[in-house]
Symmetry: C2
Subunit: 342 residues, 2 copies
Amino acid sequence: MTRFATTSKYPMISWEEAWAIVAKTVTPLAPSPVGLLGLHDLVLAEDIVAARNMPPFAASKMDGYAVIADAGTSARRVLGEQDAGNMLDVEVTPGTTVRIMTGAPLPKGADAVIPVEQTSETDGIMHPQRAVRPHEQVRLAGQDIAIGDLVIAKGTVLGAAEIGLLAMVGRAEALAHPRPRVAVMATGDELVPPGEPLAPGQIHDSNSYALCAAVQAAGGIARRIDRSIDNEDSLREALLGAVTDADLVITSGGVSMGTRDLLKPVLASLGTVHFGWVAIRPGKPLTFATIQGVPVFSLPGFPVSSLVTFENTVRPALRIMAGHKALWRPKVEACLSHSVRH
Amino acid sequence: MTRFATTSKYPMISWEEAWAIVAKTVTPLAPSPVGLLGLHDLVLAEDIVAARNMPPFAASKMDGYAVIADAGTSARRVLGEQDAGNMLDVEVTPGTTVRIMTGAPLPKGADAVIPVEQTSETDGIMHPQRAVRPHEQVRLAGQDIAIGDLVIAKGTVLGAAEIGLLAMVGRAEALAHPRPRVAVMATGDELVPPGEPLAPGQIHDSNSYALCAAVQAAGGIARRIDRSIDNEDSLREALLGAVTDADLVITSGGVSMGTRDLLKPVLASLGTVHFGWVAIRPGKPLTFATIQGVPVFSLPGFPVSSLVTFENTVRPALRIMAGHKALWRPKVEACLSHSVRH
């Protein structure tokens, strides 16, 4: 008797139906506090509200002299020098001034800065070359960010500028969705690790490496599981091991309708198979299951099919887990300027 | 006497001149062998030439029956079953056939496969529903990749598909330019780490965190150096430490013309300052030096200036080091659909 199966025991569904099932099953990973150096490319899971003003004090925009603004150009006696970082204990009064560095806090009394280029100083007396208006060359306290401002909204993807902002408002860490940990396993007795010699009928495992790279590109942390021989027990053991410390599991191979395609029955015995046959090409045997609540995507073994189904179904699922609102790549319309061949 | 400097001792040069100096100084990092799981997003530093055919043997594209093609639909006796992974020791002759799984090697004698859906099998006899032509449903040996083919060219940025190809042709590792190791240090006595309280006149260090994220986004490995108090000795020590285990060093702050801007003299005492004043805004004080052959970029301390100069000068330098040919972001022309304000 032939052991071929010519139809799947799973009904064929459209990709849209399949995606609806995935989108209903996969949820964002629980947020946890992450330090500034680990936040790059993560999705923020809290609103960041300013707890203080930025700048926290009125500060000079230029190297120059802190003065009380007036309409004239009268000389002023230099009381001292205000660096960034420590407050000089003086008060600027009419007729006096303090040398000030870019970014340094405006000394008590002063309300404007005359840039050094527009002054001269001799024997402790500064001569301005022009009059100065109040707040000239001054960043006022709270000018950039005021207390209570929403600095970064929940759901924002954190890049360099956002991480700088977090630091600026004093946050050493923020709540973010972690990177999904993804276990990747290729199945198939014919597979041999790259670098080892091939016996007749064998090929090198390439899918697990390609899929690990695709997981990394999608912002996940990939862990490759060494291929197990294709029998029910070893597949069962490998899958149970994978779901214990992964947020998502990807297998490749073992899902078409050949004799040795043991994977679907093993998935069904360990958990729930949500679909096992999708009307897409390549990728018809694309299978989606959950084991102990962990999503398992079983992709076809043909290398192109495995990467294509990763791209159109697993990647957006990973983006849901990472907290992204934008699940799909941007679409760009383009015209070929030359013909292409297969 | 005032300690202000109102002109830089370095001549002001254009950004184009500055970039020409950087591009002449910075070189790709020496390639080293990297395992498949670490290759994602690296630049390949060797041509990959196929050492064998892919597929290595003629293989079935479908689940079906391996036969000798002929014009008729005569019944064939089933000799056995050919899985992927181990060669069946039989020879297909006229009037006989072997069950075969997708991807499995074609048994000796056979030259075509009839898909299982177009057959019926009873009592060990297979009845084809149609005639079959030679090579039907067969991937010939070397059809995808033939011995001697250039599989991936030197200089290619390795993504999931390329890493899969490397594995497919049996490579467990490949020569690639490593990720640049980048030390990042913010200078300024007024800086306090995020999470710690601020005294009057102090602000939180944000640049070192933003720049570390920018380095990560550019494909580098960022190491933040804890801010040192702004005096010549501590800066000298921090810089000498940084160049010993980094491929590139970034500092922020301490390069404008204020009293406390000690960085340029320290850089000059430790190595060569190639430029220290560039006609760009923001970013005029952008400084580029080498210490013991290691490039050092000293960016202005104002957060926007530091990220902008990173983007337009440090990022392309990092891409040179990582072996990229494409140094600049793609340019896209766009129209604003609404007005924007500062």
